[in-house]
Every structure is written in structure tokens, then in C-alpha cells.
Symmetry: D3
Subunit: 314 residues, 6 copies
């Protein structure tokens, strides 16, 4: 019956649209919604090294992947696209060249920060707030994207780099990596995520405070022992292989299960246990109706590996 | 010194960009940022009847301003543009034709609601959630826009119309107006704002519940006595004049003061008094540095009307 | 396929259980789960005056419906049963005899309040807190029940009576009704809901404070003008008829729509607009998949009244 | 046993101190803690017109009770003293002379607002925030004081006056009174409480927004119908008598009950119903052990009026 | 005087009742309230190995303690009983047989998860939500019980086992133990507590995400270094002895102090520091009136061990 | 123009005042506001060992720095002074003599805790709550002070000592240090900060619970591995030098950046990430207008060390 009603009501095809796709289409006219889009950027290189795994590489190696205006603009477009891309089930972020990133490109960004528009202090403040929110939005797009984001850090990860990795789901680094909350040295409190997310990422408040006040370097071993990274690899090559393997492993699982997990982990971070339980009960009242559970149960019954199950796109 | 440093650092002009302007530019290539944009839509008519006042008219009179897909898409673009338009200091919303709006255009929207994409219950749910958020975003754009939004209702205001007016700042209606929370009659709990905002808009929870459970009409007199509207006008013409006068009055005041007021009223609605006080103390630590205060004080000293003061754009 | 897997996995019928049904069964062994239970109580009289409408009458008329220990115990059982009763779609609460209720039965309750168990101040406090939470739980059961609860007040509504009506969804009264927050006169701050819910029920904080500090009576006209009740009827008979009519009207609508509305109105009362929108988007991602919407749309298409549609039980 | 241990442990008298009493003592060396202090101020006149009732009069009639620096400083000291004064059980606030208050004394305060200390925008902001918090603290002291505060307004109540009355518990006015949120006319968003508290005081958000954006006057009748005031008196004299009578009435009740009510009403305003219920259950686990309940129950048993009961100081 | 009034008012003994005891009595008719109840279950074995210490053993060793429907039902009854049992001051949970638990018993539970009741997607969702909340409630009963719960894990702790241990207060394991968040492999986001509680239990968000997305095993050493367990014992026997010793140690202390600590630790987890401080100040205003403090102080004065002090039951 | 208006309006110098300075002046009449005050206390020794670094030493070595009434009173005065002292940019706290602190001085404090004022349980509770809030306020003053507080612990840190160090920003200890949450042994739940702050300071909830329930000692190595302290030094001398060096390092940086960092770290601890980002965007809209950023950028451009830059006082 449903179809009959709908058809008589509709008499036409439905169009899909979204705020995200509005923006995405503005930049890349060739992208078909739902299909895997072609990602072309000045500061990023995007590839698909494994099935359903997208690799986003910070790619201004000659500038030590410093974050210029193009980067801030492209990163959010890139992740909003990935969020919409049903062929992608996990994302890996890394840096091209000698280091992960030198942080904000002060040369390129100085105008925004050093010379806010406006003749009046209030109007300058107004413009500054808008810019800060835009920069924040760039890294929040990594959380807004419901696919797990794994980040692999080698060499230096400075300033904005720490903001970036704090917004990822799982962090890895190579032995030569180090992290530095640099903002205090340029006269400002870090405002694109480090102060908000890092204390909820690692287990020692004493350490977060020390790093934020002193701008001292955190070396890879300490990054592991404090819980910032899950694992330290001997070098970048072994790290990339290890991280892509894990991303591939995650991609083989039910996307309903994996992405529902990310959404609920983030919700729970910011709510009480009681609210978190209430939310997932509401979330799962639809999600438990998925065929993925039946497929998984069937596989378990037949002693198959979960990897052998084929799950539909999400 | 500042300029010297900046210039040596920059060596180039700064570009402005924002998520909003990305979307906006996608639809209207001729719009200059900062300058008053030309608003052209299928379902809305936008004009500037008074200085610094923008009038947004729901404009599908032949369809009783029913909210079709184009409307949901255009409304958010329209208000995101207005938010960025420094020439605008107040907005008036009204409906063309015989009534304010008949609510959602079930014919046009049925596909989204009645026939969600996906073969699996979980995947259908996923797509439904995305659509609901998009619809919610349409009306949230009225709150995200920091300029006061006044709404003038005549005739019927049904279903989505109540969601819309709940998201405005000040509500007015003509004697012949009535309001109806219609959603329960099409088998769903209202999900684009009425259940969330209306109880914080009017003072009787008993009444909100009754309206939401029974879908009965709320006539203009009761709308006034329960606080939904600020004033009832005898007819549409007198209402439009009254509302435009008030919008004009608001536009003559300091935009730093007016828009800061809106932002803090909304913040306080959703926070404790203690948090609200903390936020405005932080907000005003820059805003009190505005020249507008000095201009206003000077005018007061000279016994001038506040309307005689010229405030810079914001 | 699902069935095959499930059957091979299960090989047995599923049993239903719940904390609520545990308690319910403890008191009334004859109640079949899902079927309409026989409600038998000392202090309440429960009937079904209209299809799908349950009428709960406070029924100790010789004691002016004073709330004794049996009442506190039975009320929560009654409403937990109603919550589980898929034949019920709306509830009406009223009082038998001359008045709605004289409030707490001090004679019967004095032990709990005046003589807490325990020799040590801390242990007495511990026991007191447990009792308060139990009493609170009695009225919270009206909100926990997702069916709308309409309350019809005649004559006096004192003390605990105000706590009770504050927890209902829609309030009505007869011309002779009055309300009194009596607790302050027996030396305590009202602790079973009035101070928490009433300020979110009516629109004047000044009035709530006055009533709570002075224990003065609020007469029916003021109850209407301040928004406590939706309507004042000339006498109890006309009120009961009016209220049962509205309950009947509500019962004719989709229970998915009505009960989802109650759940989201309560959620929104206690959360920010942003959180409320997020919750209903998650809620409706399953609820919009209901056949009730299709049925309603079909009826609208065929110009039928919503009342002609038959919705399945919930 | 307790005494023996304590005495052997102590061997000396205990001293009482508090942050409040530190400040209080700094200004008024003759005040004995616990005893009724002598209140002497430049801008306030404090008296005790009824038993246990303190009357605080804004007293710069020649300046229309404009709020100068002395006022902001003295008000918080006055209310912190009253909070500590166990002889006081209710407070009445009114204005001497022709009007309640003309609001902030721009002449006296201009330095703070117009000329913030500091050569650097950030340092000026820092100093501004500190000042705003101090001003906010002045009115928050009315809520921090657990005794009910009744305010009686005649004539004009402008700007800071609205902030003040919003922080009181019960509001009254005379027929000639009017209220005006004036801040927008001097170029700033009201930052000492109006935007935070007023929307939680009255039931129409539309009206709050209109008043805040337009600075129009709210006359006494509309103040009554929107719930801002509980009652409008024909003139100041009848108002003062009515308000003092009510304060006296409140003072005759158990201070444990009354002040616990205020504390929990404020807590509930800023928390969900669930949190509010949890808090009062914890609050009352000690407060229900008071002898006041027994005294009240005894009186009820003996058919005495609550006013005949003598409750100990709190 | 109190007794006289109470007796004249009461003229009868007080009865104790509670939602919990209603349910408890339904299942175990022989249990006297306050006295240590006899715990008899299909899936649990309950004993009292030390004074005031209750040991709850998951006891379906032939099914590797898989959590079947009886388990979910019995666990909440067991802990609600323990919560009411004033003879118990600490609880130890462990598993009988070769491993702690294999997690959910998919064979037994499949109906609930794989075949939700209802013909309509919304009605299935409704039933699913109710079931999820029941399962959540099972583990929340460990937190609702104010006595400290210590858990001792040996061998595998899979799926629901991780949800269970996350809800305990202190965790221990033997060298051979491992933990696995298994849910993602059966196609769902874990919804009975792991995603909500685990990130607040251990210090590395990166690790939580990795475990939840990949379902990899966490071995005992890593469980120690990440803070999941407090200590790793060489084998089950030494672990049980160590854990019972600690439970016994805790039982020797003031139950007012210990259980108040648990309640406030849980409150603080879910609130800001400011709210947590406010709550404990309100909590302790009665609890500091306990004789336990005097007893403890007396003991300290006499250089006795705290263990020598006898505290009354709570 | 601003000056002209202000001068004509003012005609007088502005006075600075604050609640804090009221209290401060009450105790130390010689302190000039803004200038470095002379700190003289019974229980504290305050010095300035490095430029812009204040050293607060718990100084009752003969009583093992036990916290008596003078200590609780003086500590809050000391830190409120430091908060106002623009010459100070970092604070170091340590203990004189053999240990850091033995915790609360039971001999001196017993009256407050063991013998609360008042004949009635409710009135005793009232007085107890006030005292608890005062004690809480003492340690909250360390967070209210926006300068980073580093604490250096040697020997024992017992009871109130753990509350104190939990309120500091960065913790260090010497090899011989140990920590003990002692409160449970004197019959009470710790109520001046440990239960609220410690779980947000270290990464293992299991460990926090164990320490709070058992009162066992936490030795320095475990304090390091669980994240309570940032570093363990071999002895007190090396620790003091290391800690002062770090304080000195922090003092060399922009106070706008450092203190803004502290304020936002604390805000973020108690709010969701979304709220934290919103707050810092509002905070930095003024703070990014500071000259300190320009100075820092200039230095970076000229390859100077940040330490060479001179920042104005804050």
C-alpha cells in the first residue's frame, strides 16, 4: 500500500540535498552524491590504499605541512565529503615529507590573527569570533564524520597539529615523533580544540597543564605511557602499514555497528552516564533492526570469521 | 609596529571565507560578501522595505505557502545570507496570500517522509535522521542569525508554521490568525522545533500539551493571553505596518547591543543563570570596548534621541 | 532467513519481563501482561469510561482523599500497570467525593515523617532519603507512563495534591476549585515535586514563590489566568464530560505520535533546545518508519477524518 | 561521651568565621555576628518595620535612586549581612522618593564602563570582565541570601532596576509603575542579570525579546498580566502595607521550611526535574529532622494557627 | 514530646516498603527486610565468605557463565537485595569455572535481539527500547547499590562482561585474564554500559576507541597499565584472597563514610566540580552528625586502629 | 573623543573595588592594590624566589603542617591576594619541615566537625553546610586564581593535603612522598574536593575508588605511573629547584596566553567539548586583540627566544 500512496502523492522522483552537499558541490562539480568523489586539493592528497579505507595526507611537504588558509578550508570540505561517502568505512590521516606538521602557517594566516578586520574593538571581536569558529569547525568535521579516523604521526606535531590529532579517534606515532602545544609561545590560549579535547583524551591532568603552560615537547615514549597514542612504531613505514591494517580490519565490520559506536562514544564523552545510556537506548531502537546483526549471528553460528560477512553500504 | 610585522609576514591581501559563504556562493554567484546580496528564490520573496530591515515573505500563495523541498532548502540559504549581511539589522517574516502557511507540503515532501531510502531498517533510519537534521537546521538558521527576527502571522499557521514561528524572536498576529500543531494528525511527533521551543516560548505547559496532543486550533486572542504573540492587530495591513515600524525602531539602535542581546537571550534560555552570567561577562569584555557606548553616552549627554546616533555596520 | 536463524538459535518461546512487571505481578497475580489488567486498590478506583481511556479516581472520599501510605504505594503500581497496558491511550485522574484531595494524610504518614528510623542522625537521614525518593517516585510514575495524563480538579487540591497535578500533562478544574501549597505550614520544603515542576508548568515565577512561601489559596480563575489549568468548567459534571471527551479525542490518534510527543515534551523540558532537537531526530529515525504515517496520509488523501483511521496498539 | 572527647580535643572555644563575615567586618566594625547588625550606608536605608522583617530602601531620592558606585558596593554588603542575620526572616526592597530607580548612574559609573583600565585590548577586557562580575555579584547576593526578598516598585524602574527586581523572589508594583530594559539604548547588552533571569521570571518569550530590543516601557497592567508582578496596588502606601503584611506572614512560618523552599526553588530553576528531585531528597534528609515539623504537627493537632507556633532562629 | 505527638497521631506501627522490596519480595518470600536474605538463583551463587562481605559468583560454569535471560533478571534482583541488606558492607563479584564470562548467551537471548516483537517498525523499536533499558538497568543496579563492588576477573571477560566490570567500583584480574569488547562483531554498538562507562574508567581515549572498533583482546598487563584494573594477581586463588581481604578491610570502616564516598564519587563523575562540591556539602550536612565520627576520633585519640571501632549497621 | 566625554561625565578619578579586595584589605591594611602585597600569616610563609614567581610554603613544621583553623582562613586570603597581584605570574606551593602536610588538625578543628552549633538537627545541618562550603572555598581559591599553581610534595601528604594538591594545576613529588585519602578513617566522606577533583586528575577510576575506600598509601612511583604527578625527583632540594625553574619558565611567557589557558582548561573540564569551544571562541575574541601576539610574532620572525620578549603585567 505504501508505494501506491507515495506514488500517487509524489508523481515525481525525490531529490536529495543537504547543507554539506551544498558546500561540497560548490567546490567539486563532478562529485556524484553517494558515489566515491574525486578529492582534489592544494594541501591534501587523498587516496584509497585499501578497500573502503581513505587515506588523507597533509601534503605541503616543502612547507613542513604548515596549515595555511587553503588547508583550513580544504580539510572541512574533505571530511564532509568523506562523511557522505558510503564507500568509505575508515579514514587514515598522516603527513607527507619529513614531519607530520609544523602547525599553523604563521606567514599565511597572520592577517586573520594579527590584523582582524574592523575599526572598532567590538567589531574586530565579532570578526575574530567568526574566524575562530571556522577554524574550530575544520577539526570538528573529523568528529562530525561518523567513520573512525586513525591518525599516524611521525616527526614533529606542533601547535595546530595537536588540535588535529586530539579530534581523531585513535592515535599512533613512530619512535621519532614528538608533540608540542605551541600556542602559548605566540601569545594565545589554544582555541581550536587542544584545551577542550586533550584532557578528555589522556589520563593525567597534571601533564596536560604542564604541556599547555610550558610548550615543552612530549616525546613518543611518554605519549604512549600517558595514553595519547595507542602504539609506537619503530618508523614511519611500519606505522603506515600497521595503521592501514587496522583501518582495513575496522572496514570489514558492520558499518552500522562501527559508526554507531563512534557516535555514541562521542555522545558519552560529553554527557553523564545516565544520559549516555538513555541516548544509546534510543539510538539502538532502530539500529538493532538491522540485517547486519542477523548476518553476523548467522556467521557466528556457522563458525565463520566476521570478515567473511558482506555488509551493505551505509 | 603591528602593521610592519603583519606586512612583512603577509605580503598579500587576506581572503575571507566561511562555511556559510561556501554554501551561499554555491547558489548565488553574484553575491559580494559583506555587500547586500540579491536574494532570488522560488518560494521566498525578499525585499528591503525600510532602511536596514529585510522582509522575507513566504511566497507560494497559490499553494497556501505550503513548505515544499525548495522552501526547506532556500530558507536556510536566505537566513545564512542575512546573517552575513552587514546592511541588515532586523528581519520581518510574513506570508503572501490568504494565509501564513498551510505547513509542510505533503505532496512534495512525501518521498522523504513516507519512503525513506534504504533496504535495511537501520539504513533507512540513518537516512531519516539526516533528513530530520536538515529540516531542523532550516529553522535553527533563524536563531543562528544574530539579527532579531519578527514574524507577522495572518490566517492559518499550521504544522511547520508553528515550528517556524517558535524559532523567531518576536511574534505578532492579526485578529483572524490561528495556530495548529498538526503533526500528531499525520502520525508523528513534531520534530523540527515545536516540541523543543514552544514550551520555552509560552507560559502554560498545560496548554502546550493540549495543543500538541489534540491538534486543536489556537485562536489569536488565546495566542495573546498565553504569551505566544506580543500583540494582535485588527488586520494584516495594520500588522505589517506595526511590525515594520518596530523592526525599523530596532534597526536604529546599536547593532552591537541588539545582536549581543539576541545571542545572550538564546544562550540563557539553554543554560543556568550562573552559566548565563558567566557567558555574558566574557562576551561583554570585548563588546564594552565598542565606540557605540561612547556615541550613545554622548547622545544622552546632549539630550539627543538614540535614533539620531549613527552606528557603524556590524 | 531471519526466522530460520532465530529458530535454530532459540528453539523456544521468548519470555517477556521487566522491573515493572515484576512489581506488578507481585501485587496482582491475575494480571495478564499486555492484556488490560484488573486494577483493584484500597485508595483508587480504576475504570474505563471510554474506549482506550482509563479513569483513575482518588477514592477515599470519607477521608477527603487524603494520601495515606496505601495511596503512595498503590499509585505507582497503578501507573506502572497503565504504562504497560497497550489497550490504554489516555488517562484521566480525578477525585471522588467533595474535594480532589486534602493532601498528605498526616495521621497515617506521621511515622515516616515525624519518627524516622535510626538512633543516629546519619542513619535517620539515610532512611529519610529513601522514603522521600519513594514518595517522589509515586508521582514520577505519571511522567514515566508515556500515555497523556489529564487531571480534573474540583474543590480543594492541597499539599500533595499540587505535587500530583504538577506531574500531569494537562490540568482542568471546576469553578469551585482551589490549590494550596501547604507544606510550609507543616515546617518543611515541599519535596515530592511541586518546587521542581510547578515553575516549569506556569508562567509567573513571582506567583510560584508567593504560593510556596505563604501557602495562600489559588482560586480557579487565577489558576486559569496563570496557565496552571487549561480551562475552568462550571461544575464537576461538565468538567468530567469535557475531560473525558478530550481524552477520547487523544485516544483516537496514532499512539506512536501521541506518546512520542509526550516523551519528547518531557525530554525538552529538561534539556537545551539543541539537545532536544538532537534527541527527537534520533527518536524519529525509527518512529517515522511506522505504518501510522502511511495510514494517516492515506486518510488525508481520501479526505477522511483522522478519527476514522485505526491504529495498532502500542 | 561526645563532649568529653571534644573538650579534651579542643581545650578552647571555637571561633566562627566566613568569607562573608570577613567582608562585613571590614566595613562595619561594630556588628556582632549572629546579632542584628546596624546597617549604615550612603545609598540605602535599612530598617525593621515588622518583627523579623528587614526593609531595604534604595535611598538617593534626590538622584532618583540612580545606582552609583557606592550602591553597587553597599548592596552586596547589605545582603550578605542580612543573609547572616538570624533575626531576619524576610526582606522587603523599595525605593525612596518619586520613583523606584532610574537605573545605573551614568555620571558616576562612566569611568568603569567608558574608560576601562589598561593600554592593551586584552588587558582592558580582563579588567572589564572583573568589573562585570562584581556588578553581577551585587544582585546575585539577593539570591545567595536564603531569606525571601519581596520587592515593591512604584514609578519608574529602569535599566539596572529591572536587573534588580529580576533577582528578587516576589514582585509587586503600584498602578503608576513602569519597567524599562534600557541597556540597548546606551549601546550594550544588559549584563547584570536581566537577560538571564527575566525569561525565567515571566511566561512570554516574545515579550522579553520585544522589551530587550526596543527598550519600550512596560506598564503596570501588562506587568501583572505577563506575570512579572504578583499584584498591582493602587498606590505606594497601600503597596507598602500589603507587602509588609505578606513579609510578616512569611516571617511567622518555620524558617527551615521557608528558606529551604527558596534554596530549592532556585536550584530547580537551573536544573532538570530529575536533578531537582535528587537535590531536595538530599536536602531534606537533614531538614526533616527539625523540631519545627513536630511543633507544626502539634499545632495542627491542637487546631492552632501556624502563626501561634514559635520557631527557633536559623 | 515528639513521641507523645507521634503516638497520638499514629496509634500503630510503621510499615516499611519500597519499589525494590516490592520486587524482592515477589521472588523470595522468606526474606525478612533488614535481615540477611537467602539468595537463591539459577545463574548466581551468593555467599558470605567474610563478615559483612557478600560474594556474588556468576555460576553457569558449563556455559562459561554466558549471560542468559535468567542472569539479566536475577542480577538486578540480587543487587537490589544487597542494597537493602544492612548486614553487607562490601561485595565481591567473580566467575565460577574456567573463565569470568563469555558474555551474552546468544542462543538464549536471540529472540530479544534478533526477533523484536511487533509488526510495525515503530512498535518493534518501542519494544526494543524497553528491553535495552531493562538490560541497562541490570548493570546500573551495581551502581545504585551504595556498597562498594569489587570485581575479580580470571580468564576471558567478553562482551557483556566488559559492561559488567565497567559498572563495578574496583577491578582486579589474574595474569591469564583478557578483556574484549565484542559487540561490534555481532553488528551492534554496545548498549549496556561499556561505551558510556569505560571511557570514564580508564585514561586513554585512543585505547577505548581501538578496543571498541576492532574487538581486539586487552591482556592483563595492558589492563593494569591503562588503569582498567588496580592490580594483577598471579592466579585466581591469590586474587580471590587478595580481593576478599580488601573487601574485608573496607567492611571494617564506617559504612556512613564508605557508602557516602561511593555515592559522591558517582555523582561527581557525572557533574562539574562545582556541582559535585555543592552536592557533598548538602550530603554531609546530615552525615557529619553521625556518631561514627565521634567513635573514630575517640579511637584516634586512644591510638586504636580504626578496625577496632564498631560501627552500627546502615 | 572618548576622553572628552568621559571627563565631562566623570570629573573625578575612578576607584577600584572588589569583593576580594574588600576581604584582603580587612586583613592587611598596608597592601596597595596592584602592587605586590606583603603576605604575613601564622601558618604560611610567602616569598618571591624568582621574578614573578610566588612561593607559598605551608609553615607549621612543628605540627607537621597540620591544617588548623588559621590555615583554612589564611589560605583563601593568600590566594585571593595572589590572584589580584599583577606582579605574580606563577605560584609554587610546598611544605616546610619533614612532610608536606599531616592533613586536617583534628585537635584544632574538632569543634567545627564534632560539635556543630545548634540545638536542632536542621539548624546544626545548616551550620555544618556553611562550614563545609567555607572549607571548600579555601581550596577553590587555588582554581579561582588564574595564575598556574605548581605543587611540590615531599614526605606525607594526608587527608586535606590530597584535597589541596587536587586543586593545583601541576603536581610534582620527591621519591619519599606518599599520598593518603584519610577521611574514611575518621568516619566521613571527603568533602573539600578530593572526591570531586581527583577522578578528573588521574586516569584510573579503579585506583581512585580503592584509595578512597581503603585509605591506603599511594607511593611516589605509583603516583607517577597513574598520572597524579608529572615527575618524581630524587629529593626535596632537587624538586624545589626543578619546580621553581618550571614556574620561572612559565612566568616568562605572555600572561594573557598562560592565564587564558588555565581559565579555559578549567572551563573545559566541567563542560562538553562543544561548550568548551564556544566559550574559548568568545574568550579569545578579545584576547586575540592583545599586543602580546604581535610581540611574540615579531620575536619569532627575528628568531628570538620567547623568553626575550617583555610582556606587560596583567
Amino acid at each position: 500500500m505504501a508505494n501506491r500512496v507515495v506514488n500517487s502523492v509524489l508523481g515525481q522522483g525525490t531529490r536529495v540535498w543537504s547543507p554539506v552537499s551544498r558546500a561540497v558541490r560548490a567546490m567539486s562539480s563532478g562529485a556524484g552524491s553517494g558515489a566515491s568523489p574525486s578529492h582534489t586539493y592544494e594541501t591534501l592528497r587523498v587516496s584509497q590504499p585499501r578497500e573502503s579505507v581513505i587515506h588523507v595526507e597533509l601534503h605541503r611537504p616543502e612547507k613542513r605541512n604548515a596549515m595555511n588558509q587553503a588547508f583550513w578550508r580544504e580539510m572541512v570540505v574533505c571530511f564532509d565529503r568523506i562523511a557522505e561517502d558510503s564507500d568509505c568505512r575508515a579514514v587514515v590521516v598522516s603527513g607527507a615529507g619529513k614531519i607530520f606538521t609544523a602547525g599553523i602557517d604563521l606567514m599565511d594566516m597572520a592577517g586573520d590573527v594579527l590584523q582582524p578586520e574592523g575599526d572598532d574593538a567590538a567589531r574586530r571581536a565579532w570578526n575574530l569570533q567568526r574566524k575562530i569558529r571556522e577554524y574550530q569547525d575544520t577539526f570538528s568535521s573529523l568528529e562530525r564524520c561518523s567513520k573512525p579516523v586513525l591518525v599516524a604521526v611521525h616527526g614533529a606535531c606542533v601547535g595546530g597539529g595537536v588540535d588535529l590529532v586530539s579530534a581523531c579517534d585513535i592515535r599512533f606515532c613512530s619512535q621519532d615523533a614528538w608533540f608540542q602545544i605551541k600556542e602559548v609561545d605566540i601569545g594565545l590560549a589554544a582555541d581550536v580544540g587542544t584545551l577542550q579535547r586533550l584532557p578528555k583524551v589522556i589520563g593525567s591532568r597534571s601533564l596536560v597543564s604542564e604541556l599547555a603552560y610550558t610548550a615543552r615537547k612530549l616525546m613518543s615514549d611518554e605519549a604512549k605511557s600517558c595514553g595519547l597514542v595507542s602504539r609506537v612504531f619503530p618508523d614511519k613505514d611500519s606505522m603506515m602499514e600497521g595503521v592501514l591494517d587496522m583501518a582495513s580490519e575496522i572496514s570489514s565490520k558492520s558499518p552500522v555497528a562501527v559508526q554507531g559506536t563512534k557516535i555514541n562514544l562521542l555522545y558519552s564523552r560529553d554527557h553523564s552516564v545516565r544520559e549516555g545510556l538513555e541516548y544509546i537506548a534510543t539510538w539502538n531502537m532502530s539500529m538493532l533492526q538491522t540485517e547486519d546483526i542477523m548476518k553476523s549471528a548467522q556467521a557466528a553460528l556457522e563458525k565463520k570469521s566476521p570478515k567473511e560477512v558482506l555488509y551493505s553500504k551505509l
